[in-house]
């Protein structure tokens, strides 16, 4: 296996080449990609329209954002002065590709206007876990060397093994590059839909607990939530023009940070994402309180996989489970007379 830094460099060069060609040939009007973050242990999205800016594009293991977020809902950035939709090239790791396909299924975006610059993602670093371990000390620089993540501050240098400090969802990820759809993909992409086999044994431990234990554990995990809604803002599937948390007629739950209201927010969000979540882990990566929301993501994946044998964002022909129904759906949970 090649060193991660070399691989990153390789990916970065490919991205730049492909992006440059697309812009030069006028195949796209704008490239959405990642650039260096303003603080260490982060990256920012960048919107490039001029060829000379291409060198600002980067790829490293901190490109946690899901860029499909910028495609739906369609903001003014996606239109030119004449009010026509522009063509967009987007740097697509596996989960960005999945989000784009799922948004197409939900009729949110027009695939004709999108070119995915596919890459074979090599995993995203769990930055919240590293931040937690570094604690109060200030991080000045992060880099990946060999198979380790190196975090430097003014009076310390720490090494973390990459394989261990990868995002939990990336460890389980089976769709590392975007699935191929028609000719909207350049670069690396999956030719045939991947066979997704998963045992979900990482949450089976939690599931086997009693309701009381589960409630207490959830309370412990979520109670630090300040309801800043960063998870919603980062989520490519949260494109509703009026989110249920902003609704005030009716008010679905209170505005306090009491646990009941926090619970209602996370539960209702999970309910909204069932069969739609593409398991990109962007929500956990942006949480300022470092709450690990991945266990909810995993549960949602598990429910739709087991109940409906569905995995979101793999192909654009299959309807998501909540958009359809069958006469012979399972109804074991319905109450029957004794």
């Amino acid at each position: 296996m090649k060193d991660i830094e070399l691989k990153n460099q390789e990916i970065e060069n490919t991205i730049k080449d492909l992006a440059k060609n697309l812009l030069k040939d006028r195949k796209v009007d704008m490239i959405i990609g990642y650039t260096k973050g303003t603080v260490p242990l982060s990256s920012s999205p960048i919107f490039i329209t001029r060829e000379e800016d291409i060198d600002k594009l980067i790829w490293n293991n901190l490109c946690y954002a899901n860029l499909a977020k910028y495609l739906a809902p369609r903001g003014p950035i996606l239109y030119n002065k004449e009010g026509q939709e522009i063509k967009v090239g987007i740097i697509a790791k596996g989960c960005v590709g999945r989000a784009i396909i799922h948004l197409t299924v939900e009729n949110q975006i027009n695939l004709e206007n999108i070119k995915m610059i596919g890459i074979l993602c090599n995993g995203i670093i769990n930055r919240k876990r590293i931040e937690k371990e570094i604690g109060e000390r200030e991080i000045l620089e992060t880099s990946v060397m060999g198979k380790n993540i190196i975090v430097k501050g003014c009076d310390f240098e720490e090494t973390f093994p990459f394989d261990d400090y990868m995002n939990e969802l990336c460890k389980k990820c089976k769709v590392k590059s975007p699935p191929k759809v028609a000719d909207s993909c350049v670069g690396e992409c999956l030719e045939s839909p991947p066979l997704i086999e998963d045992d979900f044994n990482d949450i089976s431990d939690f599931e086997s607990k009693t309701s009381e234990e589960k409630w207490d554990l959830i309370k412990e995990t979520l109670s630090t939530c300040t309801r800043c809604y960063a998870c919603r803002e980062a989520c490519p599937m949260c494109y509703c023009s009026l989110c249920f948390v902003d609704q005030n007629k009716p008010i679905w739950f209170g505005k306090t940070t009491d646990f009941t209201d926090i619970f209602a927010f996370h539960f209702n969000r999970a309910m909204h994402l069932a069969g739609r979540c593409v398991a990109c882990g962007a929500c956990s990566s942006v949480c300022p309180m470092g709450i690990d929301l991945n266990f909810i993501t995993r549960k949602l994946e598990k429910i739709v996989k087991e109940k409906f044998n569905f995995t979101s964002g793999i192909d654009k022909e299959t309807l998501p489970p909540m958009m359809t129904f069958r006469m012979d759906d399972n109804e074991e949970f319905m109450m029957e007379e004794d």
Binding site: W215, F244, T256, D258, N268, I303, F333, M335, E337
Partner: protein, 150 residues
């Protein structure tokens, strides 16, 4: 965990749960009506909300009801295939299945929220299922998880 005092237990014996029941206009509500006019006895624990169809039930209704302190939630619609709007209850069934799984995952006792089918001709069945729900919720005790602490 709080220790149950003797007084608590006494209160619990007398305690009757309050259950909010969302009944669809065309089958279950008429079923409840039939149970009434046929003088079939069932516990007075349910408060009925009539909705056009079980497909009208937003999962948020159920969460909101629990949040407001209802001890149990019951949703009832027409049998599959009998829906007045043809497929409303089939859409609802998928939602309820996921909702129930998620509630269990988040640590809510699954028996607090029940789903059932009852047609307009099934007054008997309606009464017996209400009895069953009441029994299940009574066993769980009051909905204390959603008490606000401030």
């Amino acid at each position: 965990m709080t220790v149950q005092t003797e007084q608590d237990i006494k209160v619990n014996e007398k305690w009757e749960p309050k259950i909010i029941a969302f009944l669809c206009n065309w089958c279950s509500y008429a079923g409840a009506d039939l149970a009434g006019v046929s003088r079939i006895q069932y516990p007075p624990s349910i408060r009925i909300v009539r909705v056009p169809c079980s497909g009208r039930i937003n999962p948020f209704f159920i969460v909101k009801a629990l949040l407001e302190g209802w001890d149990g939630v019951l949703v009832s619609g027409c049998h599959p295939g009998d829906c007045h709007y043809l497929t409303g209850n089939l859409v609802a069934r998928r939602r309820f299945g996921i909702l129930k799984d998620l509630l269990e995952f988040f640590g809510i006792e699954p028996d607090r929220v029940s789903f059932m089918w009852a047609s307009a001709a099934e007054g008997e069945r309606f009464a017996s299922l209400i009895k069953k729900t009441t029994k299940l919720v009574k066993k769980l005790g009051p909905n204390k998880k959603f008490e606000k602490n401030w």
